[in-house]
Amino acid sequence: MAHPAPVIEITNLSRRYGKTEAVNGLNLTVRPGRCYGFFGRNGAGKTTTIKCLLNLLRPGSGTVRVFGLDPQTDEVAVKSRLAYVPDAVAFYPWMTVRDTLEYLASFRTHWNRELENDLLQRFQLDPAKKTSALSKGQRTQLALIGAISPEPELLVLDEPTSGLDPIVRREFIETVIGAYQSGDPERRTVFVSTHLISEFEGLIDEFTIIEQGRELLTLEADAARDRFRKISARFAQAPALPPLAGALRVRQTGRELEILANGTSDQLMATLRLLGPEELQCEALTLEEIFVATDLLKKAMA
């Protein structure tokens, strides 16, 4: 099984609202068992893409396949195998936590009661409480229980932790790692759109950065941290710099130098070593820093 069938396959997807191209020729492939990050600025087209996966929107052109199926024609088959946590969760306000979970379970052929109870206890959610009385954090927790209890093959998260306090965010991620991912690792795929990237850093296997509806960068997380590096150097005197190939950004203040390297950190380090620095360091950029550096990358590619 070198190449298992992808869980999500998006080919040349476009979708416009009036004259605005929200998604414009997007390609993306998510393999099973992975945690895939989908990063982009506000308005980059993340939510539009996710809505096309869930058949909440129809693609203008291009194809979307989930488990190899078309969400438009095989909506039930697709939706029965995935769960979705949006950023703002709405429940029927007259229902209690217990009612809501029963209601959600009634749509599912499989529902893990033990897991549901574990999570209710972990989050200390009172099953008798009305959903209208829940805080934003508790609503998200309830949505997460509703998404994980059916043990779906694909968990789609759209800005799941925005607006939550740090402790709830932490618990949310631990739950995705522990309760969800550990169940049957080969059949547990996560697709998460977020701009709180640092919290998901350890979870992300691979990611796509989307910009103006197009894919700007797709990389494995380890490969990305290997490719994008920050080099800091200090010299006895302000040096005259030779050409620095692959430098996304060079900042020099007197004797100090900072370079963002795009795949050429080894060569750049060698070049700088020849200048006899007093201090020379190289560290990987975090995924969040890489995301922030995309602007520079875009200019470098243009």
Partner: protein
Amino acid sequence: MIFQIDFKAGKPVYLQLVDQIRYAAAAGRLRPGEPLPSIRPLAEELRVNRNTIAKAYAELESQGVIETLPGKGCFLKVNSSPFTKPVRDKLLLTEIDEAVVMAHHLQIGRDKFLALVQERLDYFERKSTQHDSAE
């Protein structure tokens, strides 16, 4: 065992775990027969993908550092490399060469280099026996 993950280290996270476990074994902090943390709680604690931990353990198993007992978990093995002696020598030489090259560029001479190696060997031996007598 306490692990330190650093995303800025520029080394894949699973290799950081591999290195730390190998180091702990060499320094006697982890002894043969002792269990490694289970994947799920460790993944939750470090907030890394469970695949990352599984990959680290698989790597350690292929290096013959740990063994997996079905249904029981992973355990540190009695120190026995699966490689033949010539392969072991060659693997170590590659690492030594790197240190030699580094020493050259840092202008550290032969005597100082050898003294440092002695010192590190003593350090690990001392640590290892300390942990033994602490039992």
